[in-house]
């Protein structure tokens, strides 16, 4: 016998928490959050540094404090939570229920749950050594930065004494400082690209303040050691990002941390048949974060990788509200037709992706907020939004753009009304 809910939220990180709170606030009363970990909060639980919540709460919180605020808000609602519960499958439902969620835990066993709407909030995972095929031996001592962070911050163990970090994403930078404070020697942070992938504030506060050298346009070309890492070889790369022979530097170290990117965790979404954008590796969504399957919404890192949790929360509240609206509309008029065809938003020159990937005409009346990443570091530039005829819909001037920092713009309704779809977002560099 299946249990039924109005909304099931998969994942109890900041995205799932915000979506569930919002859906409750909007009037849903049978809401369930499923979280595979034994506590709520997602990746924030291991981010014990400051720097969360400046936008959302106007103050600097640690990750667990930020999560704590939302966990407290959720506790005020009647939202049901199942921890230690892994969702295995999302499939079309039976007996008139649109969606069926299969989950397991030790207490309730194998659960088949019916839902009118689902919010995907599964977060992301780290790219590994395999994903970038680093040559060399395969000893112990090679960790993704997040795994090392978990060992240090949750389990209370050190993973090494002499460390090289590959990748200058935020997690790597945070770990450079964390390992240093724990008494390890961080010998180098090595970045393939000519610019860092992390936030500028983290470069300053985590590397420069501790005199940790950052090698831009470099990569790891060999790992030595049969059993534990003994040496890491770093080489300079050319403009084609290929290592330049003769530039090798050998570091004697016992640990290599990898901070080489995050991948949205969409195996469940794929299994459900949700359309995935190959650029974000997350679902294709409209402005309300609805995916290609009506009634399934996505938000947070499962949708696209965010730098700041504050934006995760904002996006997830949007998804939670939309899910509530969807359920209420279905209740009012069962089988209501899907909304009219949407207007595509495309990533043009200098832009690697946009979220949302399309807009519903009805939503345009309220203006549209677009999130995207640029391909290159640029000083002075314009963000241009153009329509199908190449006519300019909007222009936003910027003095600094970097792939490591997510951009967002809001298109006012008045400008959108005149545009012929599809819309394209591109970057126009301005010569100083």
């Amino acid at each position: 016998m299946a249990e039924t809910y109005q909304l099931i939220v998969i994942g109890g990180g900041p995205a799932g928490l915000a979506a569930a709170c919002k859906a409750w606030e909007q009037g849903l009363r049978r809401v369930l959050v499923l979280e595979r970990d034994c506590e709520l909060g997602g990746i924030l639980n291991q981010c014990i540094h400051n720097g969360f919540g400046l936008h959302r709460f106007g103050e600097e919180l640690t990750g667990p404090e930020y999560a704590g605020r939302y966990i407290a808000m959720l506790a005020e609602t009647g939202v049901e939570v199942r921890l230690d519960t892994m969702v295995l499958q999302l499939v079309p439902g039976r007996d008139g229920h649109p969606h069926e969620v299969h989950a397991v835990n030790g207490k309730q066993g194998y659960q088949v749950l019916q839902a009118q709407a689902v919010v995907l909030a599964m977060g992301c995972r780290e790219r590994t050594r395999g994903a970038i095929s680093i040559p060399g031996e395969r000893p112990s001592g090679i960790f993704t930065a997040g795994a090392a962070q978990r060992f240090l911050n949750i389990e209370g163990y050190m993973v090494g004494r002499r460390v090289v970090i590959l990748g200058s994403g935020d997690i790597g930078l945070i770990m450079a400082r964390r390992m240093t404070l724990e008494g390890a020697k961080v010998l180098a942070c090595v970045e393939l690209m000519p610019y860092s992938g992390g936030l500028t504030r983290n470069i300053v506060q985590c590397l420069q303040d501790y005199n940790i050298p950052l090698y831009l346009s470099h990569t790891v070309t060999d790992i030595r050691g049969h059993d534990r890492v003994e040496q890491v070889v770093v080489s300079r790369v050319g403009p084609d990002r290929q290592p330049i022979p003769g530039t090798e530097m050998v570091f004697d170290c016992d640990t290599l941390l990898l901070s080489v990117g995050l991948i949205p965790e969409n195996e469940l979404s794929r299994g459900a048949g949700v359309e995935i954008d190959p650029r974000t590796r997350g679902p294709v969504v409209a402005e309300n974060r609805e995916t290609s399957i009506p009634g399934i919404f996505a938000c947070g890192n499962v949708l696209h990788v965010h730098d700041l949790v504050d934006f995760v929360s904002a996006e997830s509240e949007r998804a939670g509200a939309a899910a509530a609206q969807y359920v209420q509309a279905q209740d009012a008029a069962p089988g209501a037709p899907a909304p009219a065809a949407a207007i595509p938003v495309q990533a043009g020159e200098g832009v690697s992706y946009t979220v949302p990937q399309h807009l519903h005409p009805a939503a345009l009346a309220a203006g549209a907020e677009l999130f995207f990443r640029v391909r290159r570091v640029t000083k002075t530039a314009n963000i241009l939004v153009e329509d199908a005829n190449g006519a300019r819909v909007a222009k936003f001037a910027r003095t600094h753009l970097a792939p490591g920092e997510m951009e967002n713009i809001t298109l006012p309704a008045a400008l959108l009304a005149r545009a012929t779809p599809p819309l394209t977002v591109r970057i126009e560099e301005v010569q100083a």
Binding site: L152, E155, D227
Partner: protein, 485 residues
């Protein structure tokens, strides 16, 4: 006094132990490593070859064809993942077509069932992702893909359940003839006496032999490198796809793995350091380029792991299976290069028969246990899953999220007849950490479960072999760090 001591517990040692376990004998297996199946047996193409490669009349030819049949039977009996996918050898140019004919003729002489020569179009009808350049192929329906370490583990576990003794972390460092016949073997754990010795030391079989007497053949270790791609690429081909061997050696293969991933490799590179299992940029680039000739659409961006294995190649063409001339009672199972994984059960059977001929009484035990069942939560039906969790709630706790491996399965691995004691030992037994995140998420959890079950600190748990430590101590107990209970 043992009747038989087997040196080495790769697939050959394990298959021999499994064969001997059915007889009323005192058998001991000495393994240098801290775990079994942790050398060449864990790093190869994982193919049960059909048997058209070896020259007719060689030991290799007979053992391969018999081994293929036996291995599939054993896998089914001992609950080892195996899938008889069949294989194709491709020809890209008309000049290569005669080579397919040669393989066909050899296979027929070797007794390989069901071989068939196909046109390029026929091959593409079976495997739509093959290159348009393919102009002919040899189909061998009996080829299979297998879990290679799982195969070896199943055999040694069954042997141990039937009374064979196994000592791990027991490298044989000296061998001498015993006073009253037989042999005395030294390991750091002490000396053992035995009537017969079987040398199944893989790529170090020459060194083990040299402990007793000079070796009259040469080991020429050759390394092969691989890509292992995510399950999202696992359906790229349905069969094992080989190329015609060319002047640069055997071609690169593309194959589904029995776990649903895609394996691509190997190259062939002579090495001197037999422990250097490194990957090289050049080797990987070669493998990738060659594989794209067969299947151009492979998305290498989906790679989750590279690895390499060392072939026990020698200066001889055949397996080196035979008694020492000066020391009867010392049997070499040496030079077991490819298709050694396939041939292992037949090699084990041959070794047992040779012991019998040499005077060892082979009396079958009436109570030989020849079965094994492994819980694999992910393949169970919802009803079976519910029943498993009802029996033990720990089957409801998913630890490895990529492969859906539960705490219950990890505990099974830690408490199996040949217990896992390391993170990779757990991985080999139940797949935790094998998936796309490569243990990034479950690694710390597996470490904690191992420590708890073995009653030691997590800092003592190794990733793999001796020296492969993971943690170097506790963090400073500063205020911001939660203390560890």
């Amino acid at each position: 006094m043992y009747d038989v001591v087997i040196i080495g517990c790769g697939v050959v040692g394990a298959a021999t132990a499994y064969r001997l376990a059915r007889y009323d004998l005192r058998t001991l297996v000495l393994e240098a490593n801290n775990d079994v199946a942790n050398a060449t047996t864990k790093a190869n193409s994982a193919i049960l070859h059909a048997g058209y490669d070896p020259e007719p009349g060689t030991k290799m030819a007979a053992l391969n064809v018999e081994g293929n049949r036996m291995a599939i039977e054993i896998c089914r009996r001992l609950d080892v993942p195996v899938k008889q996918t069949g294989s194709l050898v491709l020809a890209f140019t008309p000049e290569q077509l005669p080579h397919l004919q040669t393989l066909y003729d050899r296979g027929t002489a070797n007794g390989v069932p069901g071989l068939q020569l196909l046109s390029g179009d026929e091959a593409r009808a079976l495997e739509p992702n093959l290159s348009t350049e393919v102009c002919g192929a040899l189909l061998a329906p009996t080829a299979a893909v297998v879990d290679p370490w799982g195969f070896a583990l199943a055999m040694i576990e069954t042997a141990v359940r039937n009374g064979v003794e196994l000592h791990r972390s027991a490298p044989v460092t000296a061998i001498r003839a015993g006073e009253g016949g037989g042999f005395v073997l030294a390991t750091p754990q002490g000396e053992v006496e035995t009537r017969f010795v079987i040398n199944a030391a893989g790529v170090n079989a020459d060194r083990v032999h040299a402990l007793l007497e000079p070796v009259d053949w040469r080991m020429q270790p050759s390394r092969g490198e691989y890509y292992l791609l995510d399950k999202s690429e696992g359906g790229r081909v349905g069969r094992v796809i080989f190329q015609c061997p060319g002047p640069e050696g055997k071609g690169v293969l593309v194959a589904p793995t029995v776990h649903g991933n895609l394996i691509v490799g190997p190259n062939a590179e002579p090495v001197t350091d037999r422990r250097d299992l490194g990957n090289t940029a050049a080797g990987l680039a070669f493998v990738k380029a060659r594989a794209m000739q067969s299947v151009p659409s492979i998305r290498f961006g989906e790679n989750i792991r590279n690895f390499s294995g060392i072939r026990a190649n020698t200066d001889r063409d055949d397996f080196l299976i035979g008694w020492s001339k000066a020391y009867p009672g010392f049997l070499d199972l040496a030079g077991i290069k490819s298709p050694g994984l396939t041939s292992a059960p037949a090699i084990g059977k041959l070794a047992a028969d040779m012991l019998g001929e040499a005077g060892l009484p082979l009396t079958e035990k009436p109570d030989f246990l020849d079965e094994r069942h492994v819980v694999r939560f992910r393949y169970a039906t919802p009803e079976q899953k519910a029943a498993l969790i009802a029996k033990d709630p720990r089957y409801g706790r998913v630890i490895c999220r990529c492969e859906t491996i539960t705490e219950g399965e990890i505990l099974d691995a830690i408490h199996s007849p040949v217990p896992a004691t390391t993170v990779n030992g757990v991985k080999r037994r139940c797949n935790a950490g094998m998936g796309r995140c490569q243990g990034g998420f479950c690694g710390p959890r597996v470490q904690a479960i191992l420590a708890r079950e073995l009653g030691v600190s997590p800092t003592e748990i190794l990733m793999d072999q001796a020296g492969s430590w993971v943690l170097c101590g506790e963090t400073k107990q500063t205020e911001e760090v939660p203390t560890h209970g």
